[in-house]
């Protein structure tokens, strides 16, 4: 079942066409990676899905409902990015309580306890969020992003600037959590190993368009390269000369 469907999505800023009528969909229990060089339109696409940017044209359909001004879908969607932080002066537990309340979680206490256990947050629960290491902060941010058991999770470089151990912890957690909750994930990342490991399908974006798509294996085979990084470099540098 398709959780998210994007049809002819376009965004024009003045005379600059940032996203050029793209199409894709994500089914439940599927992770789709959005790859591309900086400025290719990934962030704009994610921001349109999240309702932060109004599309110029096209439709975003979530769970068979076309998004208009109705924000009810936001209750079943969430987002995590190392570039968006939780209030630093609040303790971890306070942040989780605030967001549990904001997402109207019916049994907030039990949900927070579950997240604390699954993401190993107990040792840092009463620390101020601003005093945490980037790895710890990332785990808290991830806890916030799944506090509402989202059906669609948007992740923008979820393991950026993390050490290999913490990065692996986050990836393993995401893999397990997705299976358990039949979640659809849209992942934007520059880490090709991460994309290879987590994604079921890849969309390669360049200058606002999806220039290629497929599974990791399909893309590697199609372009005659050894790994995804080489495919990325080939597509990113195509027509540059």
């Amino acid at each position: 079942m398709k959780q998210l469907e994007i049809n002819n999505l376009q965004k024009i800023f003045g005379i600059f066409e940032a996203v050029k009528k793209i199409n894709f969909s994500i089914s439940e229990n599927q992770t789709v990676a959005l790859l591309g060089p900086n400025g290719c339109g990934k962030t704009t696409t994610i921001a349109m899905i999240l309702g932060l940017i109004t599309p110029t044209s096209g439709t975003i359909t979530i769970n068979n409902k076309i998004l208009t001004k109705d924000h009810h879908y936001l209750a079943k969607m969430n987002f995590a990015s190392p570039y968006v932080e939780l209030p630093k002066k609040l303790k971890v537990i306070e942040n989780l309580k605030v967001y549990a309340m904001m997402y109207e979680i019916s049994n907030a206490k039990a949900k927070i306890e579950q997240l604390v256990e699954e993401l190993n947050l107990a040792p840092i629960l009463y620390k101020k969020t601003g005093e945490l290491s980037s790895g710890q902060r990332n785990r808290v941010s991830l806890a916030k992003s799944i506090i509402n058991d989202p059906k669609i999770l948007l992740l923008d470089e979820p393991t950026a600037s993390l050490d290999p151990d913490t990065g692996d912890f986050i990836r393993t957690f995401l893999e397990t959590y997705k299976k358990k909750n039949s979640m659809a994930i849209l992942l934007a990342s520059h880490n090709m190993d991460e994309v290879t490991r987590l994604s079921d399908y890849i969309l390669m974006m360049k200058e606002g368009s999806i220039i290629d798509e497929g599974t990791t294996g399909e893309l590697i085979k199609k372009h005659g390269r050894h790994d995804l990084e080489e495919v990325f470099l080939k597509l990113a540098r195509q027509n540059e000369d």
Binding site: K11, F13, A18, T43, T44, A47, L50, G51, L52, I53, T54, H71, H72, L74, A75, M77, N78, F79, S81, Y83, V84, E85, L86, P87, K88, K89, L90, K91, E94, K97, V98, Y99, M101, M102, Y103, E104, K128, K144
Partner: protein, 263 residues
């Protein structure tokens, strides 16, 4: 609209305030300093001029009320800026909380912040200068309500600017109240202003509020027309501010500037 979502944002700011003693001291410090300063100025007038015998209470009451306005507006701006500074704005905008719920949550929290600062200062004025705002009687409630609505109106306008133009609009947030203070006729009657400026002053609720404060304290009579005009003007300005805020938000979403505000 959901009360729970409104309370969640209020809770976030309550946690912030209660966790920081310097923050609480800061809230109380400035209103107290303001009142003590104006209290001594008023006392000086009282002691040195028979003409100014009645002015001690007037100046100090005006100072307290102006501070109430100032705190309401600044508190509102501060709450929004706090979300920008902590880079939490995107988390709010992608949550189910609606814009009207954010506005209500900030409005209620701003009142709480304002009261934390003002109540101690008002209480200090009673033993120190023998002046109590309660002398204004029950119209005080309407005057405070008017000032609060105007403070929130200014806060909303500044927030609209922050949403549309980003953190660079922050300086306007701090200066907003000083722009209109001279024509607010806080410490002097409207007639003091040049003729051409008087209609502009009268188009603001502040002139009516402070005119009424002086009227009650000097002649002991309540002119409900002043209170009525102030409230009516407030409703108009509040409506315009809400429209401006929604327009700014809509424009920011079209121009994509919301992402830059939040990061």
């Amino acid at each position: 609209m959901k009360i729970r979502r409104i309370l969640s944002l209020m809770l976030r700011h309550f946690y912030l305030i209660k966790a920081s003693l310097p923050r609480i001291v800061d809230l109380i410090y400035w209103p107290t300093v303001q009142i003590i300063l104006w209290g001594f100025v008023s006392k000086f007038f009282t002691m040195h001029s028979s003409y100014f015998n009645n002015t001690a209470g007037i100046i100090l009451s005006a100072a307290i009320l102006y501070d109430f306005l100032f705190r309401s507006s600044i508190s509102y701006n501060m709450l929004f800026l706090e979300e920008i500074w902590s880079r939490n704005l995107i988390n709010l905008f992608v949550s189910p909380i609606k814009i009207n719920e954010i506005v209500i949550a900030l409005t209620c929290t701003a009142l709480l912040r304002t009261m934390i600062g003002l109540v101690p200062a008002v209480l200090i004025a009673i033993p120190l200068f023998g002046i109590s705002l309660l002398e204004l009687g029950y119209p005080l409630i309407l005057l405070l309500l008017s000032l609060y609505i105007f403070g929130i109106t200014l806060g909303l306008l500044v927030t609209a600017g922050l949403v549309r133009f980003g953190p660079s609009f922050e300086n306007i947030a701090w200066a907003s109240l000083f722009f209109i203070a001279p024509i607010g006729c806080i410490y002097y009657p409207v007639e003091i202003l040049p003729n051409w400026l008087q209609p502009i002053a009268l188009a603001l609720p502040l002139a009516h509020i402070f005119e009424e404060t002086r009227s009650i304290l000097i002649t002991n009579t309540v002119h409900y027309s002043n209170i009525y005009y102030a409230l009516m003007l407030n409703m108009i300005y509040l409506f315009l501010a809400i429209c401006t805020f929604y327009y700014s938000f809509k424009t920011a979403k079209i121009k994509g500037s919301l992402i830059n505000v939040g990061e």
